[in-house]
Symmetry: C2
Subunit: 434 residues, 2 copies
């Protein structure tokens, strides 16, 4: 079995690991950009202490066909935030221009330049240079430390193990700490491999993880003297991996409970029955198997998408869907499945129903007959009242007999308590029956 | 308000109280029967100590048009049970014959004669003569003591109060301790009036009754010296009225929790809004109001009735319906209302559904993913498995899409775990859609 698994990993790496040529080309390009950055810095006499290539491509943990180049510009801490922002943007814009690239401004904790140079996606991000244990000023200040921490510790073998983990997660739809995916960040993958020594060891342990699993890298005890495990910050998240760069931060905090469970489950499934299939769009294959069945009544609420990023659209879609789900349940329809997704132009909120039609009559449950005042109020409200299980009940007429009438009222704005997120307005929605 | 209520009671009594003529006629007939009974006893030299007219007609607590005459023949305790049975039947049969009546044999704790003499329904029941505090031999031995206890204590005013209570309960469908009604026995009504002094006082107190309400008549302390309240037998029933004739017996034990609650509720409703309507088939009027509405899908399972009494048929119908309700719920259909009733020829089990049709797909909930062994078994059983809320779920196909298919399998005998009571066999059933 071990041999078989090793064979699988070899096979996977063949497919996912960038070629030497690909890596060399990327490094050459990165150095060229860094040279240009220093040119601009020197011309302007900016207080920059360091320019650092970071991210997975800098650490050899990237997957094939990953053309991301992340460069951080480390300023002296005496620089004001306004200055840092202004100088950072200036460096970025000027550099990309000199390389004949195109660029746009993105926002993390502050604006930064995202440029396109040849086939490469280049982020040029200004930050403060801080040291281990020092308080950060801007949220991105940790990134250079993350890089330094990993660079010192990951050897070539471990880098390949990181790639296997990333490929496994990607295939399962669990790779990415964005709010849409709610999965594992690249940095989290690297820390996990560092902790477990190999992908297979990680899987073997993950099989038995429970909600609340905590990981404290042994390096933490080297970096910080006198760390008291019992005094570490407590996190409520299902999976906790203390950031060696900042012990008050849980690297796994973006991971949802659902995805944590999926990882545990598929770790077990893979070990039980190892196969290269787990690395090849496994989530899509599972989805196909799940959907190859008879369905209940289905509909989609299709809403034009405003021009905002996924990180904003997805939480809003989810919030809207949650509020609609509440209304559906309150009206006694039964949901079998609900999910949402967005493409460039539209948001799609999808439902499948176990119960989508109901008789006109509805049953309201009232208070126990012993609670006189509540009973009195119930009697004032309803006329067809009877007693069951020592409680009052009433027959009444329901508002919605068919789920589509409820959705029509959502679109018309006639349904109360539906959230109207800023960028996903249900009143602009169109109902599509499948 | 008090005046109004008194007016209502007067009005009710006018309608429900037997006329003097009716009562006199009944007493004359009863005495005639008792004379004949003594004739037979003496001819046979039977060890009878007493012949006693009992029941509500003997105590003036009966309602109008009640032609029941209950006569108990009290034997000496030295008589064997076989002898008592034989002599009792002989007396009964011989008496009815001499009065040119017809008769049949009924069964309580032992057989007794039920005769028809003119318009009267005559029960002639043999029993042992026992005293207060003595252990009974046959279950019916308590009846003469009940009679003696009440006869000594009920005056004309109280008798009318008993009649009001009986009329109120009858109108609400709560009068009768048979297993079909599960309501208040006549004896229970009499004890309650004795305890509260009047119908209105009973209602006023009943408004605030809770589950577990206990009533200990003050007479009990006169009859039994040194009664310790804390040492009285504990009963689990919702309403407890200690029988003054036997402190180990709860007179209210046949009363169901549902009916106890209904009494409390309608006591309150009557006091809030006193009206003669409460005494006039109120339950039927309520039923009519409740049923004057749109309905969900309805069906009836009509089963030929075997020749057995209600006291046997009703518990069997209820047991069968309960087991079918379980199957309905297990198959994810949703019941809005279910009840059963029987006429002379058929049993009718009735259902109304909130959900009677479902899509082919069904969702099975499995174990939490953390429970490896259970998860393994679930995975072996199903193929379309996914994770939600840290649990395994599977899509599968349901057996019944329409409730009628489930009922067809009940009638065909193809559904497991349906109880097959001796006298209500669902396999002889016919499904009727309404």
């Amino acid at each position: 079995m071990i041999i078989l698994i090793e064979e699988i990993f070899k096979e996977v790496l063949k497919e996912i690991k960038p070629s030497k040529t690909e890596m060399e080309k990327l490094k050459i390009k990165a150095n060229e950009i860094i040279d240009k950055i220093w040119e601009v810095i020197k011309e302007n006499n900016y207080p920059v202490l360091e320019v650092l290539l970071v991210g997975s491509s800098a650490r050899n943990t990237n997957l094939k066909d990953d053309y991301d180049i992340d460069i951080f510009i480390l300023f002296d801490k005496s620089t004001s935030e306004d200055e840092l922002e202004e100088m950072g943007l200036n460096i970025g814009i000027e550099t990309i221009k000199r390389l004949n690239g195109s660029y746009k401004i993105n926002y993390a904790s502050h604006p930064y330049v995202n440029g396109k140079v040849d086939e490469y996606e280049v982020d040029i991000v200004p930050c403060y240079k801080i040291d281990f244990g020092e308080k950060i000023i801007s949220a991105v200040d940790r990134t250079p430390l993350h890089h330094k921490f990993l660079k010192d510790r990951l050897n070539e073998k471990l880098c390949d193990e990181v790639r296997l983990l990333k490929a496994f997660l990607k295939s399962l739809g669990l790779y990415g700490s964005d709010v849409k995916t709610k999965g594992f960040s690249g940095y989290l993958c690297e820390l996990l491999i560092l902790h477990y020594g190999s992908f297979i060891n990680l899987l073997k342990d993950a099989q038995n993880w429970k909600i609340g699993k905590k990981i404290i890298l042994k390096d933490i005890f080297e970096i910080y003297k006198d760390v008291d495990i019992n005094k570490l910050k407590k996190f409520e998240e299902p999976f906790v991996v203390y950031d060696p760069v900042d012990l008050n931060r849980n690297v796994a905090s973006p991971l949802s409970k659902e995805n944590f469970c999926e990882f545990i489950f598929y770790a077990r499934e893979f070990l039980k029955n190892p196969s290269i299939e787990f690395f090849k769009d496994y989530a899509k294959k599972l989805e196909k198997i799940l959907e190859d069945r008879e369905h209940g009544y289905r509909l989609i609420l299709k809403i034009p998408r405003e021009d905002v990023v996924d990180d904003i659209i997805y939480p809003q879609m989810e919030k809207l869907q949650k509020s609609i789900n509440k209304a559906i349940t309150k009206n006694e329809f039964v949901i079998l499945d609900s999910k949402c997704f967005a493409d460039e132009d539209y948001c799609y909120l999808y439902w499948e129903f176990l119960v989508h039609k109901l008789p006109r009559v509805a049953l309201r449950e009232g208070p126990p007959i012993f609670e006189k005042e509540r009973a009195e109020r119930f009697l004032k409200k309803y006329d067809k009242v009877f007693i069951k299980d020592c409680k009052l009940f009433a027959y009444t007429e329901r508002k919605y007999y068919h789920i589509i009438d409820l959705f029509k009222d959502i679109v018309n704005g006639n349904l109360q308590n539906i959230s109207i997120p800023k960028y996903v307005n249900p009143r602009k929605g169109e109902i599509i029956e499948l």
